[in-house]
């Protein structure tokens, strides 16, 4: 079942500015979905629509089966893009208030608040005023409040933005733990490595359009390309020249040769017959950074949507227009 469905979703703020342009996206239950995009790409607008804070200009959205998304609020944990708390209250007191709004009272409230504070390792600072918290602590408090009502879906808008490396690591650990619990997570982030490490599927927004979406595994795999590692001291370039196989090679780098799967048997045969030792042979995968850069290009090109074949998240923008 889909946790989030957006169908031909658009948001136009003014005649000159379209924040979201005909987005169609499905995020299945139990998936950790990473939403990438530069500043102003439309990530926060999409999140605000999913939370019911703003309304789409056209198109439909369904969150946890509810078209009127506010009805699903008790089943959603939400982390805002920057920590926004009543700083004169202690972490425990503020969480207690939010718990009450979620229908948690008395012992249930106290127990749940203590549990989530422990989960994000804030229990020792729980009775201090929020004003005294560091940025990392504020972000962990934000995650704690999102977990209060044991949500089915977590919407995390840049949860590690502006944090030091240690705090980033701690927040990522919390997200990884939630992923293990099988929660559906929508993670908006600028950090490609973070999304690559934490997410099952990813979508890239650019100028309000979803230009790419698919499973991380599919996107990182370069179909039909293999990498042959030669002995460490062997220069791949000189081997290519020696065996005169340059026309079959995609690229060389140090002791590495890259070629198509089709050319692989001939190249291996040439290497073996020349007595050149081979250390390993692997299918090539790309980093999410490479995928992101190749998809978004130089920043001025056309925003053509690309959908990975095995993707659960789909882009169907152009065809449905």
């Amino acid at each position: 079942m889909a946790a989030i469905e957006c169908i031909e979703l658009s948001k136009v703020y003014s005649r000159r500015f379209t924040a979201l342009n005909n987005i169609t996206l499905t995020i299945e239950e139990g998936t950790t979905f990473g939403l990438l995009g530069e500043n102003g790409a439309g990530k926060s607008t999409l999140v605000r629509i999913l939370m019911g804070f703003i309304f789409p200009t056209s198109g439909r959205v369904r969150v946890l089966g509810e078209e009127e998304v506010q009805r699903a609020h008790r089943r959603i944990g939400y982390v805002h893009e920057r920590p926004i708390f009543e700083t004169r209250f202690s972490g425990r007191a503020y969480l207690s208030y939010l718990g009450q709004l979620s229908g948690l009272w008395d012992h249930a409230n106290r127990a749940r608040v203590a549990h989530v504070l422990e989960e994000v390792k804030l229990h020792e600072a729980a009775d201090r005023a929020i004003a005294t918290y560091s940025k990392g602590m504020l972000q962990r408090l934000a995650i704690a409040q999102a977990l209060l009502s044991e949500p089915e879906l977590l919407i995390l808008d840049e949860p590690t933005s502006g944090l030091d490396p240690r705090s980033q690591w701690e927040v990522r650990q919390s997200i990884a733990a939630l992923r293990k619990q099988g929660k559906t997570i929508l993670l908006c982030s600028h950090y490609l490595a973070e999304v690559e490490a934490l997410c099952d599927a990813v979508g890239i927004l650019r100028r309000g359009r979803l230009i790419l979406s698919g499973s991380v595994a599919d996107l990182l795999h370069s179909p039909g390309v293999v990498e042959i590692a030669l002995a460490a001291r062997q220069s791949a370039q000189s081997v290519v020249e020696q065996l005169q196989i340059a026309d079959q090679i995609i690229e060389t780098q140090g002791n590495l040769l890259r070629c198509t799967e089709a050319a692989q048997p001939a190249i291996l045969a040439a290497l073996v017959s020349a007595g050149i030792p081979i250390v390993s042979l692997n299918p090539v995968s790309r980093s999410l950074e490479e995928v992101y850069v190749s998809t978004t290009g130089d920043g001025d090109g056309p925003d053509t949507p690309i959908a990975s074949g095995a993707a659960r998240a789909r882009t169907e923008q152009e065809g449905k227009r």
Binding site: H73, H80, Y97
Partner: protein
């Protein structure tokens, strides 16, 4: 058919359960927290200083009667109702709103909570004004206000509190992001029309007196502090004034439900 248990114990327990549900409802939870937050922010000290200033300015040397007390306190506390509601609404309608709102199934309960908080604050501030007037003029019988009796103080207190609550609810309804700029400007134009009709002679001003009609319940409520009895007309105006609070809350709710909330 289901039998209804009318035993006193059962009725009492049902009543208590209903009270508990009300107390734990999102509206009262938001109202309590909004008030706590306002107190902790220190703005409440500003309110107390304002009341003290009001007392020092108008009541310190006064040996005034009930009419003077309500005439002066009504205007001062009215201004205070507008000022501290602006502060409270600005605090409550900032980006902090997102987290409570992310838990509620509608924006209405948050808005009603805010209206309740701003209205509830009128009561202690009125009591403080009364206490100051009473405390410093204790030599004057009954509350330090000449000619004061419970029966002639009560209608004025009801009228004053209702007027202040109308003003605070109106301020919430006209605050950003609830009201659009166009609505705020229309309201200001209405206010300007009323002032013009009050202060200028001529045919235009005469026609503009029609704009004063909606003020009738406020005027009647003010009159209870000036010795006007609560007769049938007064009671109707009181009901209408209470209806204004409900109506303004519903109107604000209608506006807020349709607004994109992009808060900083």
């Amino acid at each position: 058919m289901r039998e209804i248990d009318l035993q006193p114990a059962s009725v009492a327990s049902s009543f208590l359960r209903a009270l508990m549900a009300l107390w734990r409802g999102p509206e009262l939870t938001v109202a309590r927290f909004t008030l706590k937050s306002y107190v902790r922010s220190g703005w409440i000290l500003g309110d107390i200083v304002f009341v003290w200033f009001l007392y020092a300015l108008f009541f310190y040397e006064f040996g005034g009667n009930v009419t003077y007390f309500y005439g002066t306190a009504g205007q001062g506390l009215g201004v205070l109702a507008i000022l501290d509601t602006i502060v409270m609404a600005r605090r409550a309608m900032s980006a902090r709103l997102y987290l409570p709102l992310a838990r509620l199934s509608s924006r209405s309960s948050y808005l009603r909570g805010l209206v309740l908080a701003t209205a509830a604050l009128r009561i202690p501030l009125f009591l403080l004004t009364l206490l100051l007037a009473a405390g410093y003029h204790a030599h004057i019988p009954v509350l330090g206000i000449q000619g004061a009796t419970v029966s002639n103080m009560l209608p004025g207190a009801i009228g004053l509190l209702l007027n202040c609550m109308i003003l605070s609810t109106l301020t919430v309804a006209l605050s950003t992001p609830i009201a659009t700029r166009r609505i705020q400007i229309i309201f200001l134009a209405w206010l300007a029309g009323i002032l013009y009709s009050n202060t200028n002679p001529g045919i235009v001003a005469q026609y503009l007196t029609v704009l004063r009609i909606p003020l009738a319940p406020l005027s009647a409520s003010y009159g209870f502090g000036q010795g006007t009895a609560i007769d049938l007309y007064g009671a109707a105006m009181l009901l209408l004034a209470a209806g204004y609070i409900v109506g303004l809350t519903l109107l604000a709710d209608f506006w807020l439900r349709r607004r994109d909330l992009i808060l900083l």
